[in-house]
């Protein structure tokens, strides 16, 4: 099992100092909008991913007028206690597990497996392809450290290659040896990433399809299609053929940084042709499939963070999710909502599930007796 026992926020977002003891099963955070419920979930997310789910700027998570924040938690991992400590002040971020500093943050990803479901997830359908690549990367990286390493290096090589293309443009000529060098490095990491993505989707898509059938309770066919320049072309050949195009554009026009996940319903793009309900079913199925996939490949059940789902999900989809909670399919769960009575009504029907309630108000968290 994996569960947070205690969580201590200091100068994090709107919390001066808040310390809570969590239950190993369900924890509900109740409060008005803007009270800081979601910040609690984001702090837990920080300890898993060393960054925020919502906002890439660490600085903006420091309490107003202060200069640092820290998040401290004790985890129970299969009955062994583990301490996690994340500290940030301008220009410096430190993560310690059991008092040992984690030197490379990318090594930490996957240590506390976690899936977060928020109203924001709908962005996955409507925003650019970068969001979908990030989602894909986030799923694979929690299970495969080599993958994240390849992604980080690929992005670094890409940045250098693009800069070098601008230098070539300034000089009006290409240093062929240098270009070949960057090509070779791009190919090495790009091919590896491509293979990982292909392999992952072969395993993941059937899991996703199953969840969609359960959630939507309908006969429409959904699919996730992986689009990549590398599917039908050799990467090296592609880079060579596009040398002049890259030179003119002053950036790399082909590669796995252009990969796309096409989300379809009955063969058509869901963001154009799916109803609101179908889109919601699609997103929640993606997230539940992610949870299920992760759970089957780690030794502990991942943490599940549910932000504002009662507000956003309709009854049918919500009931499927709640049934899964009642069936004990998840490990520790943190839920936020605006209405205590609504939550109590739901969980009173699940005597087998232990629930703890916390009231959140203006940066204070109190446990409900």
């Amino acid at each position: 099992m994996l569960a947070i026992k205690t969580l201590h926020l200091q100068q994090f977002k709107n919390y001066t100092s808040a310390k809570i003891n969590l239950h190993a099963q369900v924890n509900c955070f109740v409060g008005k909008n803007g009270a800081g419920k979601t910040n609690v979930l984001d702090a837990v997310y920080y300890l898993s991913f060393t960054k925020s789910y919502f906002n890439p700027s660490d600085l903006q998570h420091v309490l107003h007028d202060e200069n640092y924040f820290s998040i401290t938690a004790t985890y129970n991992r299969n009955d062994l206690v583990e301490n996690a400590f994340l500290f940030f002040e301008k220009g410096k971020k430190v993560l310690k597990i059991n008092n040992n500093e984690v030197k490379k943050f990318s090594d930490h990803i996957g240590h506390y497996p976690l899936v977060m479901i928020t109203p924001n997830d709908i962005m996955l359908l409507h925003e650019g392809s970068e969001e979908r690549r990030k989602f894909l990367d986030g799923m694979i990286a929690q299970l495969n450290k080599m993958y994240l390493n390849d992604v980080l290096l690929y992005n670094r090589v890409l940045e250098q290659r693009n800069k070098q293309l601008r230098v070539f443009a300034e000089h009006g000529q290409i240093d062929q040896t240098l270009l070949e060098t960057y090509n070779a490095l791009l190919i090495k990491h790009g091919n590896a990433i491509h293979q990982y993505r292909k392999q992952f989707l072969v395993e993941f898509v059937p899991v996703f399809n199953n969840f969609y059938k359960q959630i939507a309770n309908a006969s429409e066919e959904v699919s996730i299609n992986y689009q990549s320049d590398l599917l039908a072309n050799d990467f090296e050949q592609l880079l060579i053929e596009n040398t002049q195009r890259d030179f003119a554009a002053q950036r790399t026009t082909k590669g796995i940084h252009k990969d796309e996940l096409e989300f379809c319903i009955n063969g058509y793009a869901i963001k154009k042709f799916g109803s609101q309900g179908q889109q919601k079913s699609f997103i929640i199925s993606l997230k539940l499939a992610q949870y299920h996939y992760l759970k089957n490949r780690t030794t502990v059940k991942p943490l599940l963070l549910l932000d504002d789902i009662f507000e956003k999900l309709d009854e049918q989809r919500l009931n499927t999710l709640l049934q899964m909670i009642a069936n004990g399919e998840f490990g520790q769960i943190l839920i936020t909502d605006t209405h205590l009575d609504r939550l109590q009504l739901v969980f009173n029907t699940m005597p087998e599930v232990d629930v703890k309630y916390f009231m959140v108000d203006a940066g204070k968290i109190s446990e409900l007796e």
Binding site: K103, V157, E159, Q160, Q164, D175, L178, E180, L185, K188
Partner: protein, 202 residues
């Protein structure tokens, strides 16, 4: 920040150009300097000026030297047919401390990184090629850091040198956390030089 004196402001501005030093730390250094004996601070200033104006680099390998040719290049007991290629002076010191290497060095002066404005022409590559051609060098050991920029430089050089009659080897990677050569402990670094492997490219 407002300073009560132009002299302090100038000193703070100069000191804060050091890597990792902000205005606050620079101010602490300035206060420290003002508390010292005048002669001590003059000595410091002169040492800094001499360091920058009188420093010499070995005409052969680019290492820091008090003469035209450095002690390592001048030492007949060392294998003059071997070159260990390093990024900078710190790596020479680190490798010398292992006592496991008995050849010469070549100091590149950096790694290829367009993002930081460093291209091949900014590094001591031409002099390396010249050495290989004129000195009958038999082996080059690429001891560059295991970073993406280190990889780039190793790969680029291996392409540049591929038609020259010289064996290229690399020290085993993952020698230290973060891949920085200077942080590798002496035993690990020494062992990785002894166990260097022929460079296979990608």
């Amino acid at each position: 920040m407002n300073y009560p004196s132009v002299l302090i402001e100038e000193a703070v501005n100069e000191l804060s150009k050091f890597p990792g030093v902000g205005k606050k730390s620079a101010m602490r250094m300035v206060l420290h300097l003002l508390k010292q004996q005048e002669q001590d601070v003059i000595n410091l200033g002169e040492a800094v000026i001499k360091l920058r104006t009188q420093i010499k680099y070995c005409k052969r390998c680019g290492n820091v030297s008090d003469a035209d040719i450095c002690n390592i290049c001048n030492n007949p007991k060392r294998n003059q047919k071997n070159i260990c290629l390093v990024e900078d002076l710190r790596d020479v010191i680190a490798i010398e401390n292992t006592s496991q290497y008995n050849g010469t060095y070549h100091v590149l002066g950096g790694l290829i990184s367009p993002v930081n404005g460093v291209g091949p022409d900014d590094l001591n590559i031409a002099s390396l090629v010249e050495r290989i051609k004129t000195e009958e060098i038999t082996e080059i050991i690429m001891a560059l850091s295991a970073t993406m920029e280190g990889d780039t430089t190793v790969f680029y050089l291996s392409k540049k040198l591929k038609d020259l009659p010289v064996n290229i080897s690399t020290i085993s990677r993952g020698i230290a956390i973060g891949g920085e050569l200077e942080y590798a402990d002496e035993i690990t670094l020494g062992r990785s030089i002894a166990l260097r492997v022929p460079y296979a490219g990608n």
